[in-house]
């Protein structure tokens, strides 16, 4: 068994093409569009992590806002108390904080499955939300904490440089780079023996236990990886947004993470990525178009689960299969 499973060459080729297209994009479209895509890519990292639990381990967390928020707040507090404004430091701090919290919460939560797991993750995330909301002196309460535009690899934003172009070019490439690394790493994880064990647990817990998989331990590690990914996304999100508020710790944000993962299709590897990016455009469009954007998204969600439960990528997969079968028939 090779240590690192390599994707088939056709898939690798497709992935390279997409990355090249994403790299050319800032030269073709408006800075606004690139910034929007940065948000999408950041959310895609969160969704990738979330789906390790939902799609591969079969655990539905309704509390992933906790890890996203911990990543974001860890960054904001580093700025507030240590005056550090380098993105490398942000990433390290965000990953460490989210890993610590998800290790702790995960240890508690993986004792349960199904609805109890969901409610437990939700209750714990609400603990963090209420603390962020109430401890005004530390977290800024509902005003939140500001985060300045950080330096990237030691280079600061030039004195006269427009923040928008800075975010749309250099920051975008930074996010794209991390996104590519995260996606590749997640691919390796889900195709490794560890990933296979998680899928075995998802499909039949008793059998997995019987063949010697330490179910609870594996679930805990999956939880840890999942929370850390989401925390990294939070750390990358906060300089883009410039501000972190308790909203991103609230359970309704966890609902959003679930939403875009299901929108893309949680049964596939690429689904969460597509879902996060599409959802980001959908939400931006809806917010700009109507004050009832929330209701619009609700209608989309209900229609989705009624008519298209496998999500966008699930449907694409089915269509491709049909096309491949058609000539043979």
């Amino acid at each position: 068994m090779s240590a690192i499973p390599l994707p088939p060459s056709r898939l690798l080729g497709g992935a390279v093409l997409i990355v090249v297209a994403l790299a050319i994009l800032p030269w073709v479209v408006e800075p606004y569009q690139t910034t929007l895509l940065s948000y999408g890519l950041v959310m895609a990292i969160a969704a990738l992590g979330f789906n390790l639990l939902l799609g591969y381990t079969g655990l539905l967390s309704f509390g992933h806002s906790a890890y996203f928020g911990v990543g974001a707040y860890a960054v904001a507090m580093t700025v507030k108390y240590f005056k550090v404004t380098s993105l490398e430091a942000f990433v390290v701090v965000g990953i460490m904080a989210a890993a610590a919290i998800s290790a702790l919460f995960g240890f508690v939560c993986v004792r349960y499955t199904r609805i109890f797991f969901g409610i437990l993750t939700m209750a714990l995330s609400q603990v963090l939300w209420s603390l962020a909301f109430k401890f005004y002196n530390v977290t800024g309460g509902s005003d939140g904490l500001r985060v300045p535009t950080p330096s990237l690899l030691g280079t600061h934003i030039a004195p006269g440089e427009d923040k928008m172009t800075y975010l749309a070019h250099r920051y975008y490439y930074y996010v794209l780079g991390i996104f590519v690394v995260c996606t590749a790493l997640m691919w390796v994880i889900v195709h490794s023996p560890f990933g296979k064990a998680l899928q075995a647990i998802r499909d039949n817990e008793t059998r997995a236990e019987f063949v010697g998989v330490q179910v609870r331990h594996y679930r805990w590690v999956a939880f840890l990886v999942s929370g850390t990914y989401t925390g990294l996304a939070g750390a990358l999100w906060v300089p883009l947004n410039g501000l972190t508020t308790p909203d991103i710790l609230h359970w309704t944000f966890s609902g959003e993470i679930v939403f875009f993962t299901v929108l893309g299709g949680f049964g596939t590897f690429t689904g969460p990525i597509v879902g996060a990016i599409v959802f980001n455009y959908l939400k931006t469009f809806a917010v700009g178009y109507t004050v009832y954007w929330q209701g619009f998204l609700g209608v989309v969600l209900v229609t989705l689960v009624l008519a298209l439960p496998t999500g966008i990528m699930g449907m694409v997969g089915r269509l491709l299969q049909k096309r491949q079968k058609a000539p043979a028939a």
Binding site: L54, L60, F62, V108, R111, Y112, R114, I115, F116, G118, I119, L120, M122, A123, L124, Q126, V127, S130, L131, F133, K134, F135, W251, T252, G255, V258, F259, V262, V291, Y292, W293, Q294, G295, F296, L297, G298, V299, V300, L301, V302, L304, V305, L306, P309
Partner: protein, 291 residues
């Protein structure tokens, strides 16, 4: 002593409303095994309908008669529930829990904006009903009489729902369906009808909670989402699906919250959520739930 009485009343007040919301949530889970994330919105819907009805008729009717309009919120919430269950939820009973949570989350988003659409972004108030009830003084504290009525309604509701579930034929059918849906169906019970009735009853309770609280707190956007989380804490402590559990959980949360607000206001909410987490860890089925 006087302060103690005021604190006890404060706990009971909160527990009464919470029991109405959480009891409905628990009843619905107990019968059809579905966690309705939009349940808080039905509570908010009840509050909005009552406040709206009172607001419309305030100029025409004397204040005393306006009290008769309050139950409208509960009836409206029940009506909404009776429409939602067969149309939206029924297709999901056979599907994975994930989809049930998602569809009710979608419903939460829709109902939230429906209320924004119908009644606008500003709070609605029915405070004239609160004031005309007057107040009494306990020691040096002035306590509004209306709150006593809320507590009474909560107690009556608890008694009523107990009698309904344990002393009527419908209650027997309800409990049978809850324990074994297939067996109940095999014995000739129309399970679909029981589901609509149980869901409607659960929504009625939530709407009643909203209707009785609206004179003192008004109806605001977002009240549903907050209420849902507190109701979750209650049912997790008491046991999902258990009405006794919802009652005990509501009382417990009411007391802890009152103590929290007085002694450690900054971590009051965190303590409540942690309480739910700890109960889940020690007894995942809750204090009164069946495993």
């Amino acid at each position: 002593m006087d302060t103690l009485i005021v604190h006890v009343l404060g706990s009971l007040l909160y527990a009464s409303v919470l029991f109405l919301i959480a009891g409905g949530l628990s009843l619905i889970y107990g019968v059809m095994r579905i966690v309705n994330l939009a349940h808080g919105n039905l509570y908010a819907f009840g509050a909005y309908v009552s406040a709206w009805a009172v607001g419309v008729m305030a100029a025409r009717w004397p204040t005393g008669v306006l009290y008769a309009l309050l139950p409208m919120g509960a009836v409206a919430a029940a009506g909404l529930g009776a429409i939602l269950e067969p149309t939206l939820l029924r297709p999901f009973y056979r599907r994975a829990e994930e989809y049930q949570l998602l569809v009710t989350f979608g419903l939460l988003l829709i109902l939230d904006d429906l209320m924004r659409f119908l009644w606008g972004p500003y709070p609605l108030s029915a405070s004239q009903l609160y004031e005309t009830f007057g107040s009494l003084s306990i020691g040096e504290t002035i306590y509004p009489n209306y709150n006593l009525m809320v507590i009474a309604v909560g107690a009556l509701a608890a008694l009523g729902i107990w009698a309904f579930v344990y002393k009527t034929q419908f209650g027997v059918i309800l409990r049978a369906t809850s324990q074994n849906m297939r067996m109940a169906s095999a014995l000739g019970i129309n399970v679909n009808r029981v589901y609509v009735q149980a869901f409607t009853l659960g929504c009625f309770m939530a709407g009643l909670g909203g209707a009785i609280i609206v004179p003192s707190q008004g109806a605001v956007l977002g009240m549903g989402v907050d209420a849902l989380i507190m109701a979750f804490v209650v049912v997790v402590i008491g046991g999902l699906g258990s009405l006794e559990g919802a009652l005990v959980g509501a009382l417990l949360v009411g007391v802890v919250r009152e103590i929290g607000i007085t002694l450690f206001p900054e971590i009051e909410l965190a303590v409540l959520y942690l309480m739910a987490a700890v109960v889940l860890l020690i007894r995942p089925a809750g204090l009164f739930g069946r495993p």
